[in-house]
Symmetry: C2
């Protein structure tokens, strides 16, 4: 028997404002956009009032597949999503992870079909906003449009950073870089407390994100662990020394273009 939507399986703590009203998809999106720039009240209101469907997506289930022609924008409400492709030899490459409050696949608004897959790492809850409603907001609210557009551009910047990371950095630095980015994003999303946040990934998924082997990620992880900079056991990431970690990762958060 499958148990999607089981509450204790929701990995990230539910966003505070949403505790009693998990269908506030528009609010979540608005909040997220506000991290990247000014969102004046009328525009904010327009986004908040967007009608959305809430859906529970089980662990390792896909919401979108290569070739699909999506008709909704996705907003992560809880859990953890990931974007990936499958290579010819069956190798999976992870393109990105998406924390609660983030909006993967905004690009589907203006790209006809998916050239990648979007799935859930753990049981997750997502909001679906029909494209039509988004187009309407985009047409009528220039500020919202600007932020939505910018959002898609920042995602591009993140992909570039992943490109650099996976192409240039040795394993320990790459792993440290991933930790830095995810922790920074978790903090921006209000999901981190102090020096830790939930990170319910498997070493295998991390390996597929970094373009390494699970075995090698494991060994590298032990190195980082023994350095005392960071700890990642089970589903929890604890960053003991962010600056030290950022140092060896050459992590500079500029590319995330966060205001906060």
């Amino acid at each position: 028997m499958r148990r999607f939507a089981r509450d204790d399986a929701l990995v990230f703590p539910p966003f505070k404002r949403l505790r009693h009203a998990v269908s506030l998809v528009g609010e979540t999106l608005a909040r997220h956009l506000a991290c990247m720039g000014e969102l004046p009240e009328p525009d904010r209101a327009a986004i908040c009032s967007l009608d959305a469907e809430v859906r529970d997506l089980g662990r390792m289930r896909d919401q979108l597949r290569e070739g699909d022609r999506p008709t909704n924008v996705v907003v992560v409400l809880s859990g953890l999503l990931y974007r990936y492709t499958i290579g010819p030899a069956g190798a999976r490459q992870v393109h990105s992870f998406y924390l609660p409050t983030e909006a993967p696949c905004l690009e589907t608004l203006y790209i006809d079909y998916m050239d990648n897959n979007l799935g859930a790492v753990v049981d997750s809850r997502i909001g679906l906003i029909p494209h039509d409603l988004m187009y309407d907001v985009i047409d009528r609210f220039p500020h919202a449009r600007k932020l939505l557009w910018r959002q898609t551009l920042v995602q591009g910047a993140v992909f570039r950073e992943w490109l650099v990371r996976n192409s240039n950095l040795p394993a320990h630095a790459a792993l440290a870089h991933l930790f830095c980015e995810l922790f920074t994003r978790a903090k921006a999303a209000g999901l981190a407390e102090d020096d830790s946040c939930e990170l319910p990934l498997t070493q295998e998924l991390v390996a597929e994100a970094l373009g390494l082997t699970a075995v090698h990620v494991n060994r590298t992880l032990q190195l980082l662990r023994s350095s005392g900079l960071v700890e990642w056991r089970g589903r929890k990431l604890t960053v003991h020394d962010f600056d030290g970690l950022a140092e060896i990762a050459d992590f500079k958060p500029r590319y995330l273009h966060l205001r906060c």
Copy 2:
């Protein structure tokens, strides 16, 4: 004595329609956008009538640097541009190459500052369209807006593909993939004749794009050469067997989202 703009130094053959009117920056952009979707006449006209400055950029000179706050959109008229960052140890990572007719840095429209550099691989001619004029078109012409937006999204898709390529593929496949992509884009831009196009890169730059060593690129190149699939000597790339090359590269042009 520097000789920018010297005509015989323009590496790609000038775009046909531009032979006598190199300032037709808007036309070039419109033509490029039309590769990605429908561009109705009023929108096309609006883009064509955009006022632009033409500038010659010398070999290995930069047009934009990290931290800059650009005020123009760039259109490549001739030559070859590249986007890159410099790592902590001085290692350069190339994020992308830009052929004539392509428009790098469209994302500067909605991202405040550059988190990377844009330079010229060889003497190049570029068009500069002020942001203000672009904003005006974007506000008033929804179809043009849609295509511009899509253009930035496709660039994101290309970055993702580069991520996959550099993370997963062995050197020979990665190199083949780069050749496939650049040749496909050159063809779409009308810059290829038959089975060849200009590709005035150094092996070192290719190495920096693939995250490999120049030495290793050299050896890999000899492998590909001896396979008879492809030849790249001097500034000319000749693809003898595109399908064969695409096969070993697992190259599927879908991610470029080209109509033509």
